[in-house]
């Protein structure tokens, strides 16, 4: 498998495809199974957010190297309405869609790095990183 994949996110089946792709790469890179599961779960939440808030978008999964560290970067991006209040969206329990409102803070907890960029004109881009232990 190439160390980079782009998965268009449009339906609930794409959510499953995206997280399976993430797990596949994690396995290839030799991640411990707990971390593969955390990564797959995080990808699932990000893909779900794309469908819920923006209807469609895409997820990019790639391997990264920094010195002798190996990791995986996932970028979830859409051209949806964007997040009006980022600090509110990062609070546990907050949701504008009637969902559980646990998505983003939960994803941040599961990952080593987390970056969220969003505005109401350009949509939302979430970048997460998990390093191999």
């Amino acid at each position: 498998m190439a160390n980079e994949a782009v998965i268009p996110i449009h339906t609930d089946i794409d959510v499953v495809a995206a997280r399976q792709k993430g797990r596949e790469l994690a396995t290839v890179l030799g991640f411990v199974s707990t971390d593969s599961t955390l990564l797959a779960t995080a990808i699932s939440e990000l893909a779900r957010n794309i469908i819920r808030y923006a209807r469609y978008g895409e997820i990019l999964i790639s391997s990264v190297q920094s010195g002798d560290r190996v990791g995986i970067t996932v970028v979830a991006r859409d051209k949806g309405p964007g997040i009006a209040n980022i600090s509110l969206a990062m609070q546990d329990g907050y949701s504008t869609s009637g969902g559980l409102g646990l998505g983003l803070p939960g994803v941040k907890r599961m990952m080593d790095e987390f970056h969220l960029a969003s505005d109401e004109n350009n949509g939302t881009k979430v970048t997460i990183k998990k390093w191999k232990r």
Partner: protein, 123 residues
């Protein structure tokens, strides 16, 4: 992928065989709520052993499923949540509150036997 639902005595056993899409999960929820009536089941076991990811949607749908079947008069127990999956769920804040769980199918059956006995042995 459709989840096969087996009838065993007073119980229904839904044994998930592969990763499920959201639509599959909703079918499972609605199918079980309906079959509880059709088979006059007193207990439901949902075996999630093969699920390698339990995200917010799956977790919420299973919770709804358990509550719906309870309203229909049957107890539900979720069995087979893998240790890594449990860890990821806790990180996400998904605790399946108000839903009974058991280690595996065997423990799930024992749990339902105990729980449904209380009702049937009265009077």
């Amino acid at each position: 992928m459709e989840v096969p639902i087996l009838k065993q005595g007073l119980y229904l056993i839904a044994s998930i065989q592969a990763a499920l899409s959201d639509v599959d999960l909703l079918h499972l929820r609605d199918g079980l709520a309906e079959k509880v009536g059709k088979f006059r089941a007193r207990g439901v076991i949902v075996d999630v052993t093969v699920l390698d990811v339990m995200d917010s949607f799956a977790s919420r749908t299973l919770r709804d499923l358990a509550h719906m079947t309870r309203l229909r008069g049957a107890e539900t127990v979720i069995v087979g949540i893998q240790p890594e999956v449990a860890f990821a769920m806790v990180q996400l804040g998904l605790t399946l509150e108000g839903v009974d769980t058991a280690l595996d199918l065997e423990e799930g059956l024992a749990f339902l036997d105990k729980k449904t006995k209380r009702h049937t042995s009265r009077g």
